[in-house]
Amino acid sequence: MTTSLDRRSLLAGSLLGAGTLALPRLAFAQGTGRRNLLFVLLRGAADGMAMLAPVGDPGFAALRGATLADYENAPRLGSFFAVHPALAEIATSAAAGEALFVHAAATAYRERSHFDGQNLLESGGTAPYATKDGWLNRLAGLMNAGAPAPLRALAIAPAVPLALRGDAPVSNYAPSALPQASEDLLARVSLLYGADGELGPLWARALETRAMAADDGLKNLRDASAAGELAASLMRGDSGARIGMIELGGWDTHANQRGAFARSARQLDALLAAYRTGMGAAWTDTLVVVATEFGRTARLNGTGGTDHGTASAALVMGGAVRGGRVIADWPGLADGQLYEGRDLAPTIALESVIAGAVAEHLRLDPKLAMARLFPGRSDAPLSGIIRA
């Protein structure tokens, strides 16, 4: 049953033998227990070829000569791929077998607008704006079905992002730039809402979230490390959110990419490191999926940057991830191999990666997950991402 994965996979630096590829037999809806999912959306089209450089491809030096120095002493995943040096913590996780990259992945979107690309990645629709709710919310709905109470789903963001919008109840939290209200006023608002069936519970949740995040001392989500700690603090323990989402910007590196990408990468690295630490023992039951709307041009442009492209890399991380490897059906970087002569060609559907990882982690039927989260796709969900 794993032949297709074998054919497609470059098992780079896997700490696990190919023999462990056998799939865990997944029963449908066994219940999710305390399993956590954090979805990190990199807005702005993160460059997968900078994130995980295909240094083993002879075409790489020709396309990205100016950035080669960055990868000289960078952590390797096998002989073919090098992890960007700013992603040191992620590389450490990969070395520990807890993180894997999927390369040359893209959603069904083949145009190059951030707007539409993000809409499609978040809605899970087949065309931008065709689907009005988000796949993460539909996932919550799937897990809530038959559950005694809906799980907590939380965006660590000032507004609920599209991926998390929909029928299932969700919440959001972000440190506010507004001056905090006085304790006395908060207490009086509790009394004010005490008898109100809707506002009472909402307010209680608000105070609870606020209390959980109270010692963050943040005014915004600027400090990525603090944001990661915050996310963990809101997802730990019995009352924590089971599904979380966080967004990171700054990936639209049209110019002077080396500096700009490193800055954003350090943020992502710090965020995930802090989150991993913050989750503590719950890390074992935690899955992090990091994705972006599309990739960037394979060749550096005239201003040392890259333009909107097609395939990029995705990162899957967590205590239960069968990591330490790269999943790719590498398309190659020669002129004839680039998509439309300019972009890394997509060979894996990002939707399959997300649906496959999420379904295995949460013990959902992968086909059902694919059909619900990303309806209208013909791709099979990717399997073997989570340890048996």
Partner: protein, 487 residues
Amino acid sequence: MSPASIALNRFGYGFSAKDSAVGDPRAYLLRQCDVFDPAPAAIATRLSTRAKTGEMLELLRRLRQDTRAMTAMEQDGAPAMAEGMTRQEARAAALDGLPPEYREQLVEARRVLADDIAVRVNTALTSPAPMVERLVHFWSNHFSVSVGKPGIQFEAGPHEFTAIRPHVLGRFSDMLKAAVLHPAMLIYLDQFQSIGPNAPFAQRRARRGGDQQRPRGLNENLAREVLELHTLGVDGGYSQTDVTELARALTGWTVPGIGRVGRFAEDQPSGAAFVPLVHEPGARQVLGRSYPAGEAGQALAILDDLATHPATAHHIATKLARHFAGDTPPPALVARLEEDFLTTDGDLASLTRALIEAPEAWRSGPVKFRTPFEWLVAALRLTGTTTLPPQRIVGALTELGQVPWRAPSPAGYDDLAASWAGPDALIRRVELAERIARNAPQDGVIARAEAAFPGTLGEATLTQLKRAESGQQALALLLVSPEMLRR
């Protein structure tokens, strides 16, 4: 809720001490239709920024190879691009390293946009017809554009001020044509780049070998949204062929002052330009009806028919009923509004009167959770604020999560409690309320509460207001009271 409270809060933007007394609630609302000013001074005297739109689009076109400009343009637009940074830092970073002429334009664009948002809010604070202001904002959201795309910063205000506002008590077909064919919408939904595949311009291009970098042709984005969002509704019975035919009919409608074809443009009343060279020749078939070849008039004729289509009547009636009478609108009200729309061919003054007169709109309720924008305007009116500087308005709306003309999709901001009644949203309203109360007159809060919610103020709220340790605290509590959050 008492009828007087419903008139003030459900239909309007809440109580202001400067308002006339409600008296008979229906008469109070009907009177507003007579006193509504479509072009108050702040709007009438607004300087035209039309030329800047074309300049910005042209500059971007020239800079297309200079990718730094594209960075800023995209980043400026991404709704939540900068969670890792403060807004100011994100802006500084986005501006950093830009060509100076583009940087200047972006700074100017943001200033113009903030000023227009302030005009919208300050107009609502002092308007003698708050219910009609609500209708303006309802229709503006129905024909939603987002400043996330470059050039729209200069056009979003004018879109509402000139395409929506004058028609809010006029004919739906006039509003539809004005709003859809306004430069803001033509840019937002990519119409300005759409080219008829058989148009003279495309043929000439093909003969010359075309522009390899940017293959251009028909863009269906606007046509689809006109059918799905603006007129018939998603289940309105149109097909992909109808979308494509409408898209063909719309070719030629573009923004003035751009492109090589700009000099062939014919100015249109909507502020748009029509370029016959780009228009797809031939007759069109939409929803089974034929439209002869006819340049700019072809799209206008189709839009006129769409405007009075029964599916449009149902779609509009449902949305309007949802906005005023509850997230799940009473079917009887939808039917009533639908019939009025059909019999009057979309006379919005008549539709508004039908709404005011409908018993279903006066259910004691409350039936809606106030959106952040509605809440902020109502809170400012209640505190007696008549004008607020642009930066404070934009700052508050940003923290509340509903900046005008920045909705995440062409469907506009959601009109459902589920989208707004979130824990974080409540905390933010409380934080903002404390701040607003600090800067407002704090006397007579209980009298104001009774005037704001006549016969409707709950015992629980009254008790907490009386127990407050100061006038300021009482005012803050009033601003976040259940009575204030709902309508």
